[in-house]
Symmetry: C2
Subunit: 366 residues, 2 copies
């Protein structure tokens, strides 16, 4: 999407001055206050970037993993007889860099099955590069299709009244910063905005890591989409007041019955939407489906450091400072995700179309 | 309650070195990082303390207003013939210092009706002092009674299993820091803890002003009550996981039908409690009832500065620093309260006993 009018992607493959392959990405840790494109020059640097969340978001992690796999193939001594084992070893390290990310596992698996067909290292490099680039382009295309399908929902609300502003609530960042371009939850919003439909986005700040207040607000602002940041506590009241026309969120994992894991707090917004007859949509690429799991009860929920609750980083007199928010000796608990039961989800917006939980398996398998 | 083993109150009347009346209170703006008792030496200083939230919480604001009214009576020239008008004028300024605070209005009204009986300034001073001290002591007694009634609920859960730890979720700060002592929502918790019942409190951080993470966590910690700070987003997941036995919150205003205004985000927790069969209690002194209003739709909801969402204060290398959390040019919206419909409230815990919404008018009028 646009940054100050110039189209950008979150990740792309390039060549270093010496001709070696490098991966460019955005360092999202300092956003929204500073934004830097950084060059990742090795699979080890890709692993650090995933582990330390320089980049985040399921599709972007998948793309980074696929590109990291390609970098790995360029790091092997061309005379090594165990090149296949060496690549596989690095692939497993990439896979372990963010254990709950389904797309990461999927991207590595796809690369490994193509690696199996390579007869030599040179072929392995070519296959891995092409697969990584395919994954990147496919992600852009998938998000674009999610956008096209979701656009119809926004358009229908917009048509309810002349000059209607469609108020859309979103949680966390399922935006282009989490993907390669367009985003998942934001794709319909960008397409509606680009088409001239009046939209306004309520951006949940999304404690404790504030991906909404920092990333979603940033990307909407840079693309020129009207938006307002709200505390996570406010969405219920806004829905009671009739100030939300629809919710769209992304997801980290959807089980066969439609139960949906997403950033902690999503479930509370789904409850409020249900209580106030506000439609609640989950946008997802089919790669986010986890066909192995029957229901949300089987989804493991990551617990992260309590430090993310007790401290926060922000801008103070031009530099980033981390401040303590709580009594130093009070413990904190930091769940990464929660599970929204399928019954609270109006529909899923996928690259293959819009469907209910009951139709999910069919549309995803088509 | 105790601060490191020493019993304290949040506000009390004392004499300055020159014999003039002063009011001591806690400056809650720097908490939990620093805590200072400060002397308020005039009604004007009381007004500033209420306006700028050095002190907050409906009952504490009421007590401060009553004491401020008494200070006002000591500030009038003893030869002034219009002493009654002068006091009334200051009283109206105190009343206007936090327009949505029901207890403030109630305390000023009570002082004014007693002022009407005073035959001279000296009598007005005596009456105002006694009324202020009565309001302070009554608040302590009311909170103690709320605690005694609520204790029975905690005790019943504790008795469900040997060594059962009762997990209680609370939102914002309806603790002793919001009252004179005990608190409203926390009173049952303190009484259970003091009785040796095993309790553990999930403390919602309560964005944007973080009264939970800063004040509730601080006061529970200082009194020795086990607790864990959680992001506001986490409560729903904890309830889904069966890790919450009950919720208790305070309230700023309850209407005749039992609809309950409380800190923004309370409604979301009530929805989650309802969805997971977790009992949801509202603790309130009868002074918080607003008999003028039929339902929550009539409650005006205060909108506060967007700055409270965009910036946050915390401790950095030993000093308080305010940091920017959002893109500088993104707007934010900051509602102070939301309304929880009576149907989501299991029962009200009042100084007169425990009752449902349907029984509220009867118990409060008894």
């Amino acid at each position: 999407m646009n940054i100050n009018g110039v189209p950008h992607r979150t990740i792309w493959l390039a060549q270093d001055a010496d001709g070696s392959a490098i991966v460019w990405t955005l360092d999202q840790r300092k956003m929204p206050h500073f934004f830097d494109f950084i060059a990742l020059k090795s699979s080890a640097e890709i692993i650090v970037a995933i582990e330390e969340m320089w980049l985040r978001g399921a599709p972007l992690i998948g793309a980074a993993a696929a590109l990291g796999f390609y970098l790995a193939t360029t790091e092997i001594d061309k005379n090594a007889s165990d090149w296949r084992e060496q690549i596989t070893e690095i692939a497993e390290k990439i896979r372990a860099s963010r254990p709950t990310a389904v797309n990461l596992n999927w991207a590595i698996q796809r690369q490994l099955s193509i690696l199996a067909k390579a007869k030599n290292l040179n072929e392995a490099q070519n296959f891995a590069q092409q697969t990584a680039l395919d994954i990147v382009e496919e992600d852009v295309e998938i998000c674009k299709q999610i956008g096209a399908h979701g656009l119809s929902i926004i358009e229908a609300i917009s048509n309810q009244a002349p000059d209607k502003i469609v108020n859309i609530l979103t949680h966390c960042n399922a935006g282009w910063l989490a993907c390669v371009d367009w985003g998942t939850a934001t794709a319909p919003i960008y397409q509606a905005h680009d088409k001239g439909i009046k939209v306004h986005v309520w951006v949940d700040e999304t404690r404790p890591r504030n991906q909404g207040a920092s990333l979603t607000a940033w990307e909407l602002g840079k693309h020129g989409v009207p938006h307002t940041i709200i505390p996570d506590n406010a969405g219920g009241h806004l829905m009671q007041q009739g100030r939300v026309d629809m919710c769209i969120v992304g997801t980290d994992r959807v089980t066969r019955n439609g139960d949906t894991a997403n950033k902690i707090g999503t479930y509370l917004k789904a409850l409020a939407a249900h209580d106030n007859n506000v439609p609640f949509y989950v946008a997802l690429p089919s790669t986010t489906m986890d066909f192995e799991l029957q229901t949300g009860a089987e989804i493991p929920i990551e617990t992260r450091s309590e430090r993310e609750v007790k401290y926060i980083q922000g801008l103070h007199e031009g530099t980033l400072k981390e401040v303590l928010l709580t009594p130093n000796d009070s413990p904190a608990l930091n769940y990464g995700f929660d599970v929204t039961p399928a019954k609270y989800i109006t529909a899923f917006i996928t690259e293959k179309g819009i469907c209910t939980a009951a139709e999910l398996l069919k549309i995803m398998n088509d």
